[in-house]
Symmetry: C2
Subunit: 671 residues, 2 copies
């Protein structure tokens, strides 16, 4: 049943498992540039023989296979072997394992014990001699003449009748001979792992991103339509908040037929701007700019300004067409036609979305359609965009995404894709598997301690965490969740801290978010007077603004590597169910400990019980915790400590634990 | 990265996962004859379309593929589909999944909602009409003329200008049309699961076995060498104990060169019988009988007698040769030769086992050797043996076992193999993966509540439990564990109950076990005066015998299906750490609840906390628990109940819970 085993039954080593992997290599695990990939293999051999193994590694696109020696992973993992490799290029890497019986090492292992027990060694040394001569022959065949000579001399020495037995035994057991022999192994009967396992290597922003979404058209102060130049002028504010990706809703011409009015009303007035997701008009489609936003020169200036500020522009890619989209007339074959000749609009019966035609991904010319859609990414990439937020990917075929993301990455391996897959878990997971860098998640609706802990444990599961990178969003233009509608400013603050410290990537839809806009349509998660359908004006310096808290939290994220990885999250107990306590420890630097009061209305206090071992805390004595939000410092001791958080001021502590304060330093004060 | 997807991008359904499986189908899951295999598939589709799926199933050896409809698995498992199939033949079955978009069902789903919302339906019905006509064409092409006619009539009806809209809508939504259309699906763009998943189907004894091991040669009463006739005379005693597999240590000629004496001494006296595992002498090798045991006629009589008593004879297969084995001279190429021309004996340096030569599985004539070894199984199978206990399988190559077990099963699909893989976990698991029916486990050394619960949870893990069937042995001729050496009769009793109720398969090495023989070599797990090296005499009716307890426990196992499966094990809390509490609920019948006092020295008592929901207990009111060992009955209520066990009498309760006592029955008493 192991297809990888050749028919030669003498290949005795079984490569029982290799990792990291997703579904035995059906999908890639995800890593970022510069990571050390900790590869491992479970190697099984009958009897007492010694093994040797190499990791075979190949970089992206035509990279040659390299070999790295594998070593036993240690006593905690019997029969597990390990090797690390650094991924220093973007793209899909592959690795495999090859293992074999090291006959010289096996012999040496037994010989050592027999010699120590005072057993007869003459015949044993003749067995060793033969193995060393075989290694010499392999060395010679490989052109390693010096090694071949050294091995031949060593073989002669093992059976030199003039040498005393102790000297011959010492020569047999010398580390030099062991490594010389290991350098010319007999791999004729080695076993390879079933198939190479892929690793998708992306740049750091695929893992660690702070997203800020806004509508450029609302930047005209309410009186006029905002432009890309206004957006460029907005960038210093966003940079000041500490974000690194500025994400714009679609910036393409907006359809006029069936255009939606304010609050998603069915008819738009003459001045209504329409939904940016109804893409395409006489002025063009997915590769053109909405004329009221400006020109491609303005866009280039915006990209350049973001770059100056250490940020990137991310575009929204929404694959659907307004009835006025040029493709509707140029490529009617890319759409579904009804028996009366009309184009099929989007619908979720009985709801109709007549302002939008879905593409027919399964049309006869699917290859042409797919090509055109991939070219949308490539066009914007050629204009300097490398980060894409993909709208509703779950309503397009999974095979399309698999092909399209690979197609874009082949040209732009630094492209980053965020899936707005607000759908059922399996589709959410599938889209991550086929290549989306990051995924929107259900965080938006997880509010209690039990829900949050359970959800994070699920995301950190051994397989899911290898391919799904969560992006936590407290709000989006589509979703003003109940928790923000009713919880007031404190709920915005606490959701911000949760999103920014639980996940390495998070985002907010602003300025709505930092201004604590909680106006919703009745009994809906939908914003009242949503910017999706009308222009808004925002007072960025309004007193309720959370901009200072956000700036501080983003600075903490930048300064503390533990918050830049999803790994290393641990929850700690607290006797108050409204206080959630967790630590992050990955990536070097001090551990970060977060306490959030999930109750936006009441002061809550309680005793927390830290997993001291996990945090590397001293068993006795005290240590300092420094709240990076309030700048307060506390001296704690042991695992049990008291916390108290008032949502009226700040609903969270973000502590850094100063483990490295040495006793001697404090001692000076008392001299 | 999904190799199963064809290059046609229009195959939109993703078969994300299929099960049950072991490592994505690299190995077979195990089932027994008559089982219903609960197959499932996770199916992912973009958008709102409706799916249809079939399970493809193929029986062993040339079976044709059958199709079974799959259904959604229910709201607890969104996007999971399921179908069961019964396995009614021995051998390796295969299954796969094929799924596709059901375009008529998708249309019908939307149409139903649009019609209910009072929307225009004329154009909609024309879409439906076209889909029904396509189904009619497929029916006609498949030769289903009646279906084709019915579908054509239905299509006509959908657009019949004479029919009122409500009537046409009702016809469109009729269940008859739905199933007629579903019977002729468009599977041109269906998706198949990556590769068929194997299921190894064995007979019931592969899952549920009570093993009894004894040495026939000790049945001569001590004065003479026991025989197979003595063994036949012993069978009624073993049947009376309730065992169903009688396992004999090797019964082949025993080597004379380097024969071991009593207690594994290096030299044997003239009357010493030697170790049965030193196989082969002038009289023959693995396919011959030791002359002192009797003839092949005696063996046939033994097999027949066992069959009469509802039992089977199991043989020990130990692939190694004494220096006198005929193969040593006939096939010296099957052994390793040392440089001085001598044969390499077994060793684990500095230990030497000069009475035994290992086979060289990697010799040039490995094919010839492997064939001869498989023929050992086939020879004994031709003599009526179908159950084999394999000695030290972990010192032979895994690829050999994979080939050999399949080779034997090809001729004897009812063969059952027990692996004596007392080795590291990965090899233990690997041997189970490549086909051993049952495996010795670490149960022998797991004694505390924490150890037992942890180990059973590991064995019941989602993947391990699909391929590894544990066989629990409190003792073997090689192992008299410390817990039995020091715990007296009570420790034998409690280990018996644990083994027989925690695992569906278990075994003892008797009569040593039931007579509570605790004589060990100092500081060793080895029996003193072991039957491995000398004849022993046993007094089967000695007062300390546990035969009555064993007979009762085996009867309980036969009468309660819950104990015949490894599934359905749950642990329950108890405030005394020496009292372990667990229930078994699989296989129909009443749940069985077991309480064992792990302390062989002291009476222990405590409050147990039952998982009432898992056991289907009433939330209020009382229920009867009936101790099948003591025959006592208790009336319990709720989850919390008191237990007390004195090791001086019986160290365990094996309760059956009588859930079905109806209140009305009791009520009669009070009328």
């Amino acid at each position: 049943m192991q297809e990888e085993q050749s028919t030669d039954g003498r290949r005795r080593v079984v490569v029982a498992a290799v990792g990291p992997n997703v579904e035995s290599g059906r999908y890639a695990v995800k890593r970022t540039l510069g990571d050390e990939v900790g590869a491992w293999a479970d190697l099984v051999i009958d009897g007492h023989d010694q093994l040797a193994a190499v990791l075979l590694v190949r970089g992206p696109v035509g990279g040659a296979w390299r070999e790295l020696p594998m070593r036993p992973a240690g006593p905690r993992w019997p029969d597990r072997w390990a090797a690390d490799f650094a991924v220093d290029a973007l793209g899909t890497w592959e690795f495999a394992v090859e293992a074999w019986v090291d006959r010289f090492a096996s012999w040496r292992h037994g010989f050592e014990r027999k010699f120590a027990a005072g057993q007869e060694i003459d015949v044993e040394l003749r067995i060793g001699e033969a193995l060393v001569r075989e290694a010499a022959a392999r060395a010679a065949a490989a052109g390693a003449a010096a090694d071949a000579r050294a091995l031949t001399l060593a073989a002669d020495g093992l059976v030199d009748p003039a040498a005393p037995p102790a000297a011959r035994a010492a020569a047999a057991l010398s580390p030099g001979l062991a490594s010389l022999s290991a350098a010319h192994p007999d791999r004729a009967l080695s076993t390879r792992s079933p198939r190479p396992l892929p690793v998708l290597v992306e740049r750091e922003r695929a893992r660690f991103t702070s997203w800020y979404e806004f509508f450029p058209r609302s930047l005209g102060g309410g009186a006029r339509h905002g432009t890309l130049r206004d957006a460029a002028a907005m960038l210093p504010y966003v940079a000041g908040l500490g974000f690194d990706v500025v994400y714009l809703p679609p910036i393409h011409p907006i359809g006029r037929t069936y255009r939606k009015g304010p609050n998603n009303s069915l008819t738009a007035g003459p001045g209504d701007p329409g939904s940016p997701w109804a893409i395409g008009a006489a002025e063009g489609g997915h590769t053109e700019l909405h004329p009221e936003l400006g020109t491609l020169e303005d866009f280039a200036a915006l990209v350049a300004r973001a770059d100056e500020l250490g940020m990137e522009i991310a575009l929204d890619v929404a694959f659907q067409a307004a009835p006025d989209h040029p493709w509707v007339s140029e490529h009617p074959e890319w759409f579904v036609r009804r028996p009366d000749g009309s184009f099929q609009y989007a619908e979720n019966p009985p709801k109709k979305y007549q302002d939008v035609y879905p593409f027919d991904f399964g049309c006869d010319d699917w290859r042409g359609l797919w090509r055109a859609l991939a070219d949308v990414f490539l066009t914007w990439a050629s204009r300097g965009v490398r980060v894409f937020r993909v709208d509703n990917p779950h309503t397009k075929p999974v095979p399309f995404w698999r092909w399209c993301l690979a197609e874009v990455r082949a040209r732009y391996p630094d492209a980053v894709f965020l899936a707005e897959a607000f759908t059922r878990p399996l589709m959410l997971h599938e889209l991550a598997k086929v290549g989306f860098s990051q995924s929107y998640t259900y965080f938006t609706w997880r509010t209690s301690k039990r829900e949050l802990e359970g959800y994070l444990r699920e995301l950190r599961g051994p397989e899911l965490s290898e391919y799904l990178r969560p992006s936590f969003w407290p709000n989006t233009p589509d979703i003003l969740p109940e928790n923000l509608q009713v919880g007031g400013r404190a709920s915005f603050a606490l959701r911000l801290v949760l999103a920014a410290t639980l996940a390495a990537s998070y985002g907010i839809y602003g300025p709505s978010f930092e201004l604590c806009d909680a106006g919703a349509l009745p009994d809906r998660e939908e914003y009242r007077d949503s910017e999706k359908y009308q222009l808004r004006a925002w007072d960025l310096v309004a007193p309720q603004s959370l901009r200072h808290l956000i700036a501080r939290v983003n600075r903490i994220r930048r300064e503390h590597p533990a918050l830049q990885h999803d790994e290393g999250l641990a929850f700690h107990r607290c006797d108050d169910d409204a206080l959630i306590v967790y630590s992050k420890t990955h990536g070097g630097g001090d551990p970060v400990l977060v306490v959030v009061n999930l109750d936006p209305f009441h002061k809550r206090s309680g005793w927390i019980e830290l997993d001291a071992a996990a945090l590397g805390l001293p068993r006795e004595g005290s240590y300092q915790v420094h709240d990076l939000i309030s700048d307060a410092r506390y001296l704690w001791s042991g695992a049990r400590n008291y916390v108290e958080l008032d949502p009226a001021s700040t609903p969270a502590h973000v502590f850094v634990i100063r483990r490295q304060v040495r006793r001697e330093q404090n001692f000076d004060y008392y001299l």
